[in-house]
Subunit: 201 residues, 2 copies
């Protein structure tokens, strides 16, 4: 006995989601099958509405409910600073601090030759265009401190060599509340290299 | 900056799925957001069609595309035997062997006092009704050999004590291709207790 066709179709669709295998896809499909019809309709309606109402900002690729995101349409934002992040969640994390008043640029990924992600797969050219066309004075690289984040940062630095834009990178070191004793060597080494003189402050 | 409402709604919906936490729900929602509109429509259509076309068999609660499942509407099935299983996948696993010619009864779960699953939450009363109303001669318990499966089996046995239905349980022992040396004690003990005389066969 093979599976019923409409069930197979849903399993097939769920299997395409990131991190969802055949078994999980089956479990999700059966879950939907067991829910009341109105719950399933609410689910599909929410997905349809997501796709209809939520877009990506035309300028920085953050989430938007129109052409531009809340940050890009904010009046008091400093357009001379662009903070480059990997994902929308990074924007949210930085916004939560209320410390940053500039704009963002969401790459939607990082360079990863092993996974086949090249410069054309993420919003790198769009970043370089913005820097050319907007009055950008500083680019702040806020990518994750791992190999792929570093590779992407290096790629950006290399491509902006000819411009007079200031490039900075967010500090790496021991996290607040962290413990030097239990920090890994690379983090301690980075924290030492990135030390800041305080005696004359 | 909080999340945009339509995105929050989808994350909320995905979070209700079994085994899906907030972070995964977010990832799934963003995945949908990045897909072309036609892919998302195909996804929601497949879910709608699943819910419209696939039902549960009115008799055994196996998957069906009408009132009754393929097994229950099969002509050459022996209606005097009911094999009790936990889930639809168990039906599929047993059907794959082509060894069983009786009917099924899908409980849709097992008794689990710790998770709050009582007799009324699974199709137990429906099983007892079938045994009363149909001409059932044997009930084969094919629940998983774990605490919850054993509890459920015991519950069924106790409730059928007054009937003259024969109750059997699928054998437990060393799996085919398995290794006695590396089998756990409980399995070896079960295999010994369930030994079958072969000298006079």
């Amino acid at each position: 006995m093979s599976l019923i066709e409409p069930l197979e179709a849903v399993i097939e669709e769920f299997s395409k989601f990131p991190g969802i295998g055949k078994k999980t896809a089956y479990r999700l499909a059966i879950y939907l099958l067991r829910r009341p019809a109105k719950d399933v309709t609410r689910f599909t309606d929410s997905v349809t509405s997501l796709k209809q109402k939520v877009t990506f900002c035309k300028r920085c690729f953050n989430l938007a409910e129109g052409d531009y995101c809340m940050v890009c349409s904010g009046l008091k934002r400093d357009g001379s600073k662009i903070c480059v992040v990997e994902d929308i969640t990074d924007v949210m994390a930085i916004e939560r601090t209320h410390e940053y008043d500039g704009l963002y640029h969401v790459l939607g990924g990082v360079l990863s030759p092993l996974s086949g992600v090249g410069p054309e797969d993420i919003k790198l050219y769009e970043l370089f265009n913005r820097i050319r066309e907007e009055n950008v004075k500083e680019v702040i690289l806020a990518l994750n401190p791992d190999t792929e984040g570093d590779t992407t940062s290096m790629y950006i630095v290399r491509n902006l060599k000819e411009t007079d834009v200031r490039i900075s990178r967010i500090a790496r070191g021991i996290p607040i509340g962290g413990d030097i004793e239990f920090s890994d060597d690379a983090t301690i080494s980075r924290a030492l290299k990135g030390r800041i003189t305080i005696s004359n402050e």
